[in-house]
Amino acid sequence: MLEILECATLASVQDLGRYGLRRLGIGHAGAMDTLALKAGNLLLQNEENAAAIEVALGSISMRFERDTPFCLTGAVYQADLDGESVHSYWRYTARAGQTLRLIRAVHGMYGYVCVHGGLDVAEVLGARSTDLKAAFGGHQGRNLKAGDRIALGGSACEMQRIGIAPIPFTNRIHALPSSEYTAFTRNAHYRFWQNPWTLQSDSNRMGYRFGGSVLNKVKEIEMLSHAVQFGTVQVPPSGQPIVLMADTQTTGGYPKIATVVAADLGHLAQIRFGSKVFFQIATPQEAAKLKRHNEAYLHQIGVIAKKK
């Protein structure tokens, strides 16, 4: 068991998300930074999809009730295990009774506490992710709080301490033009790709709202409801783009200027409130190349983790 001793932030159980039920309105949920979650799981010799605790920015502490290999990935946290510093992207083994404290994120936004064997919460509708809006999945369908006890999937064991190269964050986010791209003015295209966009503080797991210049359309278009996805950049009448994130609803009605490429969604998730991003136009070939680059990185982690 893993016991949450204190939780002063949003923390929830997430895996790679729920697929196949969007036609019923059931969303994807899942980790905001899937690359970081996969990296952590591979470092622990888990399946890529094993469930972990996703922690947003603030502090959480938890006690391991048995010897448990673990690692922190994603946001770089100031953290310690019974007072000894814990570094992100390193694999440690906590002894039974030890307390892991994540104090605050010093770089990035979403951190992952991955454990050997994954978190053993029940799979609901094909995933262990928490759907916070519909309140199911993960640990009781909600954010974690002090006193929660979560079962560990693996068995008590020890793993050698090793570290891997962290994923370098970037604020240059590649995106592909989407279906209503030509409904926007040339000036809007120029602004979208050339101007910086500041992440607004009312952003969350559902959507990242950006402030900057205004994106005008050639003429107003009335859209009927259609599917949207993690990465869709929609532009409501205010002209300020919103990127739909892991907890996106399944359908929407605003025009879509672009879609962030899958490979860069993790980078986008790590942007902090008030920070800037630059959207960079990509081709489908570039999107595929970025994805292969990520896969090669993950493959290397898998190889290193298995050797040790």
Partner: protein, 215 residues
């Protein structure tokens, strides 16, 4: 009637027809969605209003797939889709339907007449979306079309039955909402532990039936 196909991302194609959304077109979309679901390169299909989005497995050549989708569309006939019929019991008015009197006043009719008009038609689920188990229903009588509230509520309770413009429906979960709330249902619109987890699916038909009227 040829569909237009657009890339909306590296793994999704959206197929659309010119507006408006109509039941006959939507019936063809449902059948089309069912055919796509069977293709090996397709991961998920989402029916929208007068459109269908196909999510593919990564690495699928979208240009080739787009050609196949057009061929499948041409072969797809409307009307083969057999939905279920579901009655939704509703408690109208009182604390469960705070805007019932306002809707009646807007149309210059009694609250009883609003309820009579709302329960008369057989509605069709055009699509599911927004929230788990949330249906987009077609068939609200024109003499019940009512503007949304000027100021949306921060939260409407789960089960709320409302009218927003030309639409009616119910919220499976508490949610911010601008619709005029006329009643509430306690029907299980979404149950995570059930299979299927939602009471409704695209193509189903729905009637609202009076469970109780509150003063």
């Amino acid at each position: 009637m040829m569909i237009e196909i657009n890339n909306i991302s590296e793994n999704a194609l959206c197929c659309t027809l010119p507006p408006p959304a109509e039941l006959s077109k939507q019936q063809r979309w449902w059948a089309f969605a069912d055919s796509l679901q069977a293709l090996p390169e397709i991961a998920e299909v989402v029916v929208g209003m007068n459109n269908v989005t196909a999510f593919t497995h990564y690495g699928t050549d979208l240009i080739t797939l787009s050609g196949s989708l057009k061929e499948i569309w041409e072969r797809t006939q409307a009307g083969h889709h057999q939905g279920r019929h579901v009655d939704i019991p509703v408690v109208y008015g009182g604390e469960f339907g705070e805007d019932l009197a306002e809707v009646a006043a807007f149309h210059g009719i009694t609250t009883a007449e609003v309820i009579a008009r709302h329960t008369a038609p057989t509605y069709t689920v055009f699509m599911m979306g927004f929230q788990p188990g949330f249906p987009y229903l077609g068939g609200l009588p024109e003499n019940l079309h009512t503007p949304r509230r000027a100021v949306p509520r921060a939260s409407v309770p789960a089960g709320s039955v409302g009218i927003g413009g030309a639409q009616t429906g119910m919220y499976p979960f508490a949610s911010p909402g601008g619709w005029q709330i006329i009643g509430r249902t306690f029907a299980p619109l979404f149950q995570a532990a059930a299979m299927p987890p939602t009471l409704l699916n695209a193509g189903d038909t729905v009637r609202f039936v009076v469970e109780r009227i509150e003063k």
